[in-house]
């Protein structure tokens, strides 16, 4: 079986482009051009150069010695937290801003939940001198004040999404509506491997630099390109898509996707889409999503704003449905404990999203000789308030 997208934009039964006709020309323009543009030497050269000089790639692959000792296996951390702006999100925004420029677009829009993708988008818009509008749920704007300030400092306009539940899914709706209203000059930089085809594939390709580097770095350290397992947290799933990408069709490498169980899968406050979701349409993609029996999309919950999404990218829905990926869900408490533990064992403060991936080692046992790569997708600076509150620091 192939786990990449097919020529019709599907991963198995998931994906496609379920968009109103108003968006068809924009999405079609992108679909017809994205592979061609990404394949151009000049594009690759500029993209690679910026990843190196501006983002700070390659990010280290770090052998976490004390963490490994504690869990009696070999754990490597892929340090995406060391990227400029503090998370892997910027890999994608660099790629998409270069894409937008080549498509002749002058106005950039984006959605943001926790504000990380908003900051990464505002950053590249400042870099390229393009107008930037970030849609963010009214509730998230209040919860994530420092990131809102960052975006403003970077020159972006932050527009509150006041519809529906006033969080990430509504911010995404507002960004899509803005694109409908501005079909000619605007490019929509989606922040995850979600949305209509070709977005999931395009974003996965931009993020695939993560697993490309893991292969080279692991070869140096372990004498082999393939770990036994790659672990990553999944909200929409962009850091996971990047970490899994070059291993998708290699059955020797186990793929472990970690979702947010929130207060528990059956608590009614969860974001564990693979466990709670059914096949449906969200933001232009057929995938697994949390919804009522009547097909209304429900509000997810997680302590981590970056995992707080009612759907999951179609690539991941396919990894789940086909059994290629192992899906584990981690509660708020388990994630917070794992985050604090990494601080103490390795001197690294992880983003709460990434802490979910670190938390699996308590219950998911690995062999002593297994090589397990965990994608440390972001740093925890943005989460200090949540850590302070949780641990009464």
């Amino acid at each position: 079986m192939n786990y990449n997208v097919n020529e019709k934009g599907y991963y198995g039964e998931f994906g496609g482009a379920y968009i109103p006709e108003m968006l068809y020309p924009n999405v079609e323009e992108l679909r017809q051009n994205y592979l061609k543009i990404m394949g151009e030497d000049s594009f690759q050269k500029e993209f690679r150069q910026l990843l190196k000089d501006y983002v700070g790639r390659p990010t280290p692959l770090y052998f976490a010695k004390r963490f490994s000792e504690k869990y009696n296996t070999k754990v490597y951390l892929k340090r995406e937290d060391l990227c400029h702006t503090g998370a892997h999100k910027v890999n994608n925004t660099i790629g998409q801003i270069l894409m937008a420029k080549r498509l002749g677009k002058t106005r950039i829009i984006a959605e943001s939940g926790a504000g990380q993708h908003g900051v990464a988008t505002a950053t590249v818009c400042a870099l390229m001198g393009l107008e930037c509008i970030v849609f963010m749920g009214e509730i998230d704007i209040k919860r994530q004040a420092p990131n809102v300030a960052r975006m403003k400092m970077l020159g972006a306009k932050v527009v509150p999404a006041t519809s529906g539940s006033k969080t990430l899914k509504d911010a995404t709706n507002e960004a899509i509506r803005d694109w409908i209203n501005n079909p000619v000059d605007t490019h929509y930089i989606i922040g995850s491997v979600v949305g209509p085809h070709p977005y999931p594939d395009m974003v996965a390709r931009f993020q695939s630099v993560i697993s490309e580097e893991i292969k080279t770095q692991l070869k140096e350290k372990e004498g082999r390109e393939n770990p036994d397992f790659v672990v990553a947290c999944v909200g929409g799933g962009s850091n996971a898509a990047g970490a899994f990408y070059h291993y998708l069709n290699n059955p020797e490498v186990g793929i472990i996707a970690v979702e947010a169980a929130g207060k528990g899968i059956n608590s009614g406050e969860s974001a564990a889409t693979s466990a709670l979701g059914k096949v449906g349409i969200i933001h232009g993609s057929k995938t697994l999503l949390m919804q009522t029996a009547d097909g209304q999309i429900t509000e997810p919950y997680s302590i981590s704003a970056g995992l707080d999404y009612p759907g999951v990218g179609p690539m991941h829905a396919h990894l789940f449905a086909s059994g290629r990926g192992e899906f584990i869900s981690i509660t708020d408490n388990e994630a917070m404990e794992a985050g604090l533990q990494l601080c103490k064992l390795e001197g690294i403060i992880p983003a709460i999203e990434s802490s979910h991936a670190l938390a699996i080692f308590e219950n998911r046992k690995f062999k002593k000789e297994d090589v397990v790569v965990v994608n440390l997708s972001g740093r925890g600076d943005k989460d200090l308030d949540a850590y302070i509150k949780h641990f009464d620091l």
Binding site: G16, Y18, I19, P20, E21, M22, P25, K169, V184, G295
Partner: protein
């Protein structure tokens, strides 16, 4: 012949009204339909509310939220429409987003539509290619027309493809916008309507988005077969309730 096709035979400029089922009150559906017919409306789009209506502006978003809070569901709407053909004879179209239909089961949904006497469906986020590959046969089996949208950005080639796939009318979106936009309705739109009208399509054209009074209705229908009013009607319902329908429709038709 389907009621929509029959209605399109004449030369009258058709006035079609959109409203959200379950708004303002959950049980208003039947009475609104009866009032619309009584006051001379030619066709109705009954909106099936959805939590995340991507192509809709604030007015229809709000009416959808209220309708869902009121307890409207696909199942309930079909129950309310069970006897609608005893009192209402104008063409009725169900308009909504694809996810609730997918959860109801596409065949089940089409069967129910046919059972209660609906004539067509508009699902803006069900793309043409998906429809043709997976669902067209089911729609045909139950005699339902699937209405497609075109916009000022739709290429001529694609308009012709949509024309071939259509069997009633084409929904001409007046400008690049979501519903209820207050974008200017001016010469640019007129030129666009004329351009599409000049393509000699097999299907008639009915304009939607941005029509809110007699003037915009006249402008929209000068070169087309009719126009749809949605957000402006929802606003009217919020302000004056069902009692205001007669005066609102009269104000659109006045010359």
């Amino acid at each position: 012949m389907n009621r929509i096709q029959n209605k399109l035979l004449g030369n009258k400029k058709l006035l079609s009204i959109y409203f959200t089922a379950g708004f303002p009150k959950v049980d208003d559906t039947v009475e609104i339909l009866q009032q619309l017919e009584k006051n001379g409306v030619d066709m109705v789009e009954i909106g099936l509310p959805f939590s995340d209506p991507l192509a809709d502006g604030p007015t229809i978003q709000a009416s959808s939220q209220t309708a869902l809070k009121n307890g409207m569901t696909t199942q309930l709407l079909f129950q309310q429409l069970k006897d609608i053909r005893k009192t209402v004879s104008i063409p009725l179209i169900l308009m909504g987003y694809f996810n609730p239909v997918l959860q109801f089961g596409v065949e089940n949904f089409c069967q129910k539509c046919a059972e209660v006497g609906l004539d067509g469906v508009i699902l803006p986020d069900l793309p043409l290619a998906e429809y043709e590959e997976h669902y067209a046969e089911i729609f045909k089996k139950y005699g339902l027309l699937n209405i497609f949208l075109i916009t000022p950005q739709t290429s001529e080639e694609r308009i012709k493809r949509i024309d071939t796939a259509s069997d009633g009318f084409i929904y001409l979106v007046s400008s690049a916008s979501v519903t209820g936009s207050s974008k200017k309705f001016g010469e640019e739109q007129t030129r666009y309507f004329q351009k599409v009208a000049s393509l000699s399509l097999a299907n008639k054209l009915i304009v939607g988005f941005g029509i809110n009074n007699a003037k915009t209705f006249r402008q929209a229908t000068k070169d087309t077969s009719g126009a749809i009013i949605g957000s402006a009607f929802i606003k009217e319902l919020s302000e004056n309730g069902i009692g205001g329908i007669a005066a609102f429709i009269k104000s659109i038709r006045e010359v």
